[in-house]
Amino acid sequence: MRLSSGTIRMIIPAASLAVLLVAVFYMQPRAMSYTGLNLLFNLAVPIALATIAQMLIMAVNDLDLSMGTFVSFTACVTATFLQSSPALGVLILLGAVAAYALMGIVIYVRQLPSIVVTLGMSFVWGGLAVLMLPSPGGEAPGWARWLMTSKPPYVPMAIVASIVIAVLTHLLVMRSSFGVLIRGVGGNARSVERAGWSVVGVRAAAYGLAGFFGVLSGIALVGLTTAADANIALRYTLLSIAGVILGGGEFVGGRISPIGAVIGALTLTLAGSFLSFMRISPDWQIGAQGAILIVVLALRLLLNRLEKRENNR
């Protein structure tokens, strides 16, 4: 039986995660337990949510460089307003989602490059976060803390959450008509428009949904850390982009995979632990992380060639 390139595209992220996991278990048998798995993966949950948010933006051929500061901002809202006066907190977070939708509209209507707009917005989010929490602090709402530290039977919270996120977003993006529209706008906006859909509406919805997942990421992060800090999630911008690409997504063409994105986020987190268990000196760690990315991307390049050959046949 010959595997189609589509299947291979799905298998590569899963296989790289499995290989890393086996390596980690080999080096640190202690990780092969309920608490061990939870410790390995619980910080991957907010990254997975941010990756999904980034994936939705990338689905419409854009790139969000403000993801890290946005998640930091929502984390600060969660640790301050959402905790002390929940109604106001929800209102602010809804406003943030609306701002994202608006950003999607402005980028489309004014034909602006998304990279420039989101880079600008990253300073806005960062500034607002510093205004709210000039020095680190705040407190996680009880329910967020409870949710992130709950201990379901047999399977640790981190794994349950990752599976729930993957399945829900898969249904939303790959199985619903709304998901088809989003991917359609990324693939060929003109044909979507000719079919009578409003591209601007779809893009606003995609951005709004990305904002929503960004908010969830901030809440999950604060649930884990118990408090926030205006710079808490700056790394998420690059991690989320890398997660999408690792998981089999593409920068253009509306080619995305929610399950792959979640796996990509888990792989990136695990790669960090792997390098730390290897006792690689920090000077080399960034390089080693980069090397892992390059290896996976090289596999992808190979895959693209394979696809081309299939299509030419």
């Binding site: 410790l39 390995l40 680190p136 602090g137 884990l224 408090a227 710079n231 999630a233």
Partner: protein, 338 residues
């Protein structure tokens, strides 16, 4: 119980406990250092001190291992993941220089729940189950104004060079400087810039604000920014005010040159990077079963006109004036907090 009896009792306890405390129960314990940043001279000196003191302790059989881990990027989320990895690796204690006082609390709590001792220093964490070795940064800021008040009783205009915005250390030193100015109203802060604890940033920032400022009598700083400030004044052809230094080698060297050339007077204050070794001994003492208060205070390292040469000699090129702590120093600090 009368005070006399209490004294007698404590002497008795000391007599009984002292012979047992020599490298006692910690020979099989493993201590890890979790560090968030290694990109400046202070942090490099901190890691070197850790390496030097812990290597000795390991070879003497005081502890089984004392490994240092630095995150690749200065981010709280990454350090939280690192701490969780250290839990998995089965360390008995973690010594932390934290990227954020609050954002690591979740991971620190996990470590405490796993039965580990967590000692934070310099960049401390607020989680109640951890120990904190804090520097009184506020007093450090205030001491600068006190020095200036003695040196120039008539007062004058001050320029404040601050650190990295949004970091708690910057807030605290700034609060100390402000408290000092309130007590000594003859001083007035006429300008304030962020120098990010880096000479090049400080130089640019000071150069930018200088044209708009009146005559400056003194510059209060946070460390790592005094040399840059001096360069900015020199480039603008303005008289060089009294610039408080921060123990960096380039700052001390510049001070020495000025002192030799024209009798320039100032002082220099910062914390010694060797505070990491103090944290190591505190962790060792806690593992040894000693009763240690959760909050300890470490003195800062001050250099004055008369001991400048001696300190400069001991400071490595491109480094920071440093002190390494011994087990006895740690016991003194622990005792002082009791």
């Amino acid at each position: 119980m009368t005070i006399k009896k209490m004294l007698l009792a404590s002497i008795a306890i000391v007599c009984v406990a002292a012979p047992l405390s020599v490298s006692a129960e910690t020979a099989d314990k493993k201590i890890a250092l979790s560090n968030n940043y290694a990109g400046n001279s202070w942090r490099q000196a901190m890691l070197t001190s850790w390496d030097k003191i812990t290597k000795e302790a390991v070879s003497n059989g005081v502890v089984a291992a004392a490994d240092a881990f630095t995150t690749a990027e200065n981010q709280a989320t990454e350090q939280a993941a690192q701490i969780q990895n250290l839990i998995l690796q089965g360390y008995d204690a973690i010594v932390i220089n934290a990227a954020s006082p609050t954002a690591l609390n979740g991971a620190v709590k996990e470590a405490c729940d796993a039965g580990m001792v967590v000692v934070s220093f310099d960049g401390i964490v607020t989680e109640p189950c951890a120990w904190r070795i804090a520097v009184d940064f506020k007093a450090m800021g205030e001491s600068q104004i006190e020095y200036l008040a003695k040196k120039m009783p008539e007062g004058g205009n001050l320029l404040e060079v601050r650190g990295l915005a949004g970091v708690s250390v910057d807030d605290e030193i700034h609060a100390g400087i402000q408290a000092g100015v309130e007590k000594n109203p003859q001083f007035k802060i006429v300008g304030s810039v962020n120098g990010d604890w880096a000479q090049d940033v400080a130089q640019r920032a000071v150069a930018g604000i200088l044209p708009s400022l009146p005559e400056i009598k003194a510059v209060v700083t946070q460390g790592g920014d005094g040399y840059g400030a001096a360069q900015a004044f020199a480039a603008a052809n303005r008289p060089i005010p009294t610039i408080v230094m921060g123990n960096r080698e380039d700052e001390l060297l510049w001070w020495k040159q000025q002192k030799d050339a024209n009798g320039y007077e100032t002082m220099s204050v910062s914390i010694a990077p060797g505070v990491s070794t103090l944290a190591f001994w505190v962790a060792q003492q806690i593992l040894d079963g000693k009763d240690v208060k959760k909050d300890l205070v470490v003195p800062f390292l001050r250099i004055d006109q008369d001991n400048l040469e001696a300190n400069l000699e001991k400071t490595e090129k491109g480094g920071v004036a440093n002190v390494e702590y011994s087990l006895e120093d740690a016991q003194k600090v622990i005792g002082a907090a009791m």
